[in-house]
């Protein structure tokens, strides 16, 4: 794939990055794992979902070629990027109006998986095997 050219499909794993602190300026992104300043356990509550999504990420990476599918991990607080991207991807899939809004609302949830603008697992905690199967099915539908 040429540099700068985006793969045709996008999978977004939405979950909080530990130690992300918006608007704190001088004390932003401190504490947590592998950090010089602060305690490693500060963001321990974020780790279970990070680990679970990590397993899904690795499984998807094994299944999906990089040149065909971009897999992006996004913090749900990054709405300035997240919302337009879901809207753009969903619009490209033919979603409009209320349905598009529903995908946006579900897609910004901590733990959501979004495949080409369609949000999966909007109301439950993603299991690795189920998540991979669902993503593959959705990608097949998007390619059809």
């Amino acid at each position: 794939m040429a540099t700068g050219q985006r793969p045709p499909h996008r999978v977004m794993l939405v979950r909080e990055w530990d130690s992300q602190t918006s608007g704190s300026g001088c004390c932003g992104r401190l504490g947590g794992e592998h950090c010089d300043v602060g305690h490693p356990d500060t963001f321990a509550h974020s780790r279970p979902l990070m680990e679970a999504m990590g397993a899904i990420y690795r499984a998807l990476r094994r299944e999906l070629p990089r040149e065909r599918v971009e897999i992006t991990v996004v913090d749900p607080r990054n709405m300035v990027w997240l919302i337009p991207t879901i809207l753009r991807d969903g619009h490209r899939r033919g979603l409009r109006g209320g349905e598009l809004w529903r995908q946006v609302n579900a897609g910004v949830r901590n733990g959501a998986i979004v495949v080409d603008g369609v949000a999966l697992f909007a109301h439950d905690y993603p299991d690795e095997d189920a998540a991979v199967d669902a993503v593959l099915r959705e990608l097949a539908a998007a390619s059809a």
Partner: protein, 568 residues
Amino acid sequence: MPAVVVFVAVMVIFALAYRYYSVYLAERVYALDPDFVTPAHEFEDGVDYVPTNRHVLFGHHFTSVAGAAPIVGPAIAVVWGWVPALLWIVMGTVFAAGVHDTGSLVVSVRNKATNIGTLAQTVINPRSRNLFLAIIFFLLTLVNAVFAIVIGTLFDANPEAVIPIFVEIPLAIFIGQYIHRTNTGALVPSLVGVAVLYALIAVGIAFPIDISGIAEAMGMSARTLWIIILFIYTWIASRIPVWVLLQPRDYINSHQLFIALTVIFLGVLIGMDAMAAPAFNPVEGPRNWFPFLFVTIACGAVSGFHSLVSSGTTSKQLDRDTDARYVGYMGALGEGSLALGAVLATTAGIAVVGVDWGAQYADFATASDTALGNFVQGVAGFASNIGIPISYGTAFAAVVVVSFAATTLDTGVRLQRYIIQEIGEIVGSRPLSRNLNLSTTLAVLLPLGLALAPAGENDTLAFGRLWTLFGTTNQLTAGLALAVIAVFVTQARRNAMAQIVPLTFLLFMTVWALIINLREFVTNRDWLLAPLDLAILMLAGWLIVEAVVAIRNARTEAREVTAPADRS
């Protein structure tokens, strides 16, 4: 001159800097390599190490580095006129912050995403880790002191902001619990949270909370009482898990950052307001613009804390080595843009609401005392250009600044507690390292003492003096990072002047400002700030020695490596 001309001119300079200087840095200084396997790929696990779309990463990075500090410094520094403040913001952002932020990211990426404190230990020498900890200790103490004063000042001057800010605490907790328990998306709840917060401004205007009567009965000023209340709150807030308050409030803050930037710049573009401040303003007294401008504006021109952010999780998410230019340099430009907004608000925006600039900026002491109020009034002026009533705009701006400052205060006290515990471990003090109540109390009492310290005859000078001390510690953090980057570049046998020039400049200005401060503190028999200043000055001396030795050794090594090749 219309403010919009200044805005466009700075944006053009930033665009040119990104187009040309950042390319020079990327290609000739850091030699960014599109084929280099970044830690995000080398250790790819989907948890901490994740190759991330550069636009996504920029969002993560920029929202972490932006805050209240690039607002406060410029709002004070325009006392010397808008041209010196703007020149330092532009030159500092382009030639110091861009180099520093990009460099921290690159050095970390090239060292398996190691943090800057650990890098100082490995790249310079093991002593540098203790130097880093000492600088951070003083930095956090001063951060907590100045931001408590920032909030106390705003509550005293803007009692209409008290209700929204205090309701934001249970509101954030409720949003966090709601999202957690119902497992729904954060978008609607957080947007509702922002809407409720801004709706409460109307309630705050109707019912301003003025505690001056209570404070008077207790024999203190309202600001002093607010500072005490804030530290009691912070003692509690720093003890509760971050997911209860800090992280849910993050959702509200991330919206507020972009709303505030939009209001300021839209107001500038629509209003076409003229600059009301003089281009240059000679100031009487010991605090001349040379060197104090360069420590009054730290964040917004160059901020050492960005090295901690760059070398933290950002370096673990960098997809391609060449993305460092976009994420690092653009992040610096974003922070510079926030500082530009503060300059425009305090030099053009305040004229819209009829504030007499000359009276507000009569001297450094008055400027440091009125700076935040001026920024708030200035934003209200810009907001009025887009149809927002001035009374509402004033409270809105106060709420935004307090929200950011409160987050910094919560995080800062929490971090200081950990630093005190770590120092306790180093010196072998079990109570200090193990007793949470003791370490938290110390983390609160140190900045509280500084914030409430009497400032002699001129009480309004207290904040300005603390703020410039905070600036010196932030510049020392930047200096340490620039020294690490300079050694890295020298070891790679490339020209490190892009780092050495800002490093030398920053250290020279910082030391000079510290010496002037020290002379004044000793003359005034200020036995609280004089030792503090002296301690920071000693850290600066230590840093200079370590930086000179490390860079010289790196040059010698580079020559020894090159020499055999030259002879062959």
